[in-house]
């Protein structure tokens, strides 16, 4: 991460940069969402920055905040060896209206990264050539990594077999499995049982 780089961006786009910090040594800039593409393009094309790799693009959900999602992108420069993190806050409390520009025409890696972000969070990337689900199946409704999506809510594609209590189908019934432990004592009652040394 590089302090000089963060300062460069701040001087170039003073109205776009809302906050900066350098927690744990990682330089971070929080941008206004409209300036996302401008700043990214600047980072790629300016020789002092020359960020030729978009390492990662993801989002974080803060349901108590408004705007709710924080789109986070990490950039890296191969020749200079410096990194930068850009963030932008989008979306309202319901998760709608989360729109931001796509970076696909600047870096090819943005294609799949943005698709995953859309799939998991519902952040729309304006101008993306092919914004569809990538990790989940198209019939899935909802965006799983949002905090209000319950982790164990399943939407099965194949209806489960019609067996009683299939949700709680135990791997072992009382007469199955390894015959040691409590089952053993009951099983071997007729042979005299096993002495239970616990309560004396």
């Amino acid at each position: 991460m590089s302090k000089a780089l963060a300062t460069l961006v701040k001087t170039q786009f003073p109205e776009a940069v809302l906050e900066t910090h350098a927690q744990f040594g990682d330089d971070t800039l929080v941008l206004a969402p409209d300036a996302w593409k401008k700043v990214a393009r600047f980072l790629r094309d300016t020789p002092q920055a020359s960020m030729d790799m978009l390492m990662d693009l993801t989002a974080v959900d803060f349901p108590d905040r408004e705007p709710r999602f924080e789109v986070v992108a990490h950039f890296y420069s191969l020749e200079k060896g410096h990194r930068l993190r850009l963030k932008a806050r989008v979306g309202d409390a319901e998760g709608d209206g989360a729109e931001i520009d796509t970076l696909t025409d600047l870096w090819a890696s943005a294609n799949w990264l943005e698709r995953e972000c859309w799939d998991m969070f519902g952040v729309v990337f304006k101008g993306h050539p092919d914004l569809r689900r990538i990790l989940m199946y198209p019939e899935f409704e909802g965006h799983p990594l949002r905090k209000d999506y319950p982790a164990d809510k399943i939407q099965p594609l194949v209806p489960y077999l019609d067996i009683e209590n299939i949700e709680k189908l135990p791997p072992f019934g009382p007469d199955e499995g390894m015959s040691f432990g409590r089952q053993t004592h009951a099983e071997r009652e007729d042979e005299g049982g096993i002495e239970d040394k616990r309560d004396s």
Binding site: Q23, F24, D26, M55, A108, S109, W112, L113, L135, L145
Partner: protein, 404 residues
């Protein structure tokens, strides 16, 4: 199943020939793990293709938000499951970056040795599987034999062959065993001998070379723009290795080379991995020499490391410390961090967001082979069907890491 919903050009229809749609489905022997490639063929050439991943999406990032920081280790193990130690070490280092602690020297060497052995197991598997799919079954079996020996060592050290969840924040789960150094040296020597034998078998074989050379060429600019890192990027001619560019642990003090390819074809990707195996051997040698024989493995920080069991059972402070760390989780300071190491496939990054409690708020795993698989479309378009096999094999897509 979803159809290819890309519009067909008008000019392509006038001859009344339709391109054939071939679905190389999610359950296919040549697809390592589960990837679906829907191809539009014209004869044997691939005109267009749509790579669909997500058939192994197990929801790691959501699951991590439900436990504690230490409970993330089994999940990251199952990301890149051929080199799980590298994932463990990467995550442990991300947490340590947040805490601002540095593990003792002995632990750093220990992590490096086990990590490089895991990397060797990754490259052995990748190259062996690639050779097997091209018809060379024997090198695959030899490389699996080498991998079994590495797994024997892992089992002796960690207790499990594959998904050992051995890393901990602030150190490792257990100190090295007594015969560790000799065992590691013997394993490394044997694996390098196997690599030599495999080279002799394969590299003189005309058929093998013809099937790999000039197939799936990816120029450096494309690879960089696609976000490729690791052996695939180095095969395209870009000498970027996180261990050299941003040294962590003791990689800055060790001498090793970074193999770089020239043309970015499948053969280069294959050879880069073979050469990296040898470099792993060098690193392991130097680490084994330098690793101190006694000394602590875990950092001496009561916030993160479990106290020794005698203290837990006899003193009240030990009990409380143990309870707090296990039940509430490690308290990482609120904030966010991005930490990166060289995984088996490239830069393995962890972006952690913490809210100050023991439960992670967000654990983002930056998966190197997700981006590499994102480039698969570009690699195989224009190739023939039969070239998909070496192309895909050389990219080393690990389903667990790609889909998480």
């Amino acid at each position: 199943m979803e159809p290819l919903d890309l519009p067909l050009d008008e000019s392509e229809i006038e001859l009344a020939t339709e391109p054939m749609l071939l679905n190389v489905g999610p359950s296919h022997p040549a697809m390592h793990g589960t990837v679906r490639v829907v191809m539009e063929l014209s004869g044997e050439n691939i005109e267009r293709c749509d790579v669909q991943v997500g058939y192994l999406h197990r929801g790691f990032e959501k699951m991590c938000e439900r436990g504690t920081w230490t409970q993330v280790f089994p999940y990251v193990d199952r990301c890149n499951y051929v080199s799980p130690m590298l994932n463990n070490v990467g995550f442990a280092m991300a947490c340590e970056k947040m805490l601002g602690i540095l593990v003792p020297e002995r632990c750093q060497y220990y992590r490096m040795i086990l990590g490089e052995l895991a990397r060797m197991s990754d490259h052995l598997t990748c190259d062996g599987a690639m050779a097997m799919e091209l018809g060379a079954f024997t090198p695959f079996l030899w490389m699996i034999k080498g991998r079994e020996m590495i797994w024997d060592l892992m089992e002796e050290e960690t207790g499990a062959r594959l998904t050992h969840s051995f890393g901990r924040v602030g150190g490792m789960a257990a100190p090295p065993t007594d015969g560790f150094k000799e065992h590691a040296r013997a394993v490394k020597d044997h694996c390098l001998r196997i690599v030599e034998e495999v080279e002799r078998l394969l590299l003189g074989n005309r058929i093998f070379l013809d099937r790999l050379e000039d197939i799936g060429v990816v120029p450096a600019a494309d690879a960089i723009s696609l976000g490729w890192t690791g052996p695939c990027l180095r095969a395209s001619g870009v000498p970027f290795d996180v261990r050299k560019a941003h040294p962590y642990l003791k990689y800055g003090e060790i001498e090793f080379d970074v193999p770089v390819g020239q043309s970015g074809d499948c053969f280069d990707r294959f050879m880069v991995r073979i050469e990296e195996l040898k470099q792993c051997g060098r690193i392991i040698d130097q680490c084994l020499e330098r690793m101190p024989d006694n000394g602590p493995i875990n950092v001496d920080d009561p916030r993160v490391v479990l106290p020794p069991k005698e203290d837990v059972y006899s003193t009240i402070e030990g009990t409380i410390q143990h309870f707090k760390i296990v039940m509430e989780g490690l308290k990482l300071p609120a904030g966010e961090v991005y930490s990166y190491t060289e995984g088996g496939n490239g830069e393995l990054g962890y972006y952690l967001v913490s809210d100050g409690s023991g439960t992670p708020w967000r654990v983002r795993i930056r998966p190197p082979c997700f981006l590499i698989t994102g480039g698969l479309e570009r690699v195989i378009t224009g190739q023939m069907i039969a070239d998909v096999v070496p192309c895909f094999g050389s990219l080393n897509m690990i389903g667990g890491e790609c889909d998480r």
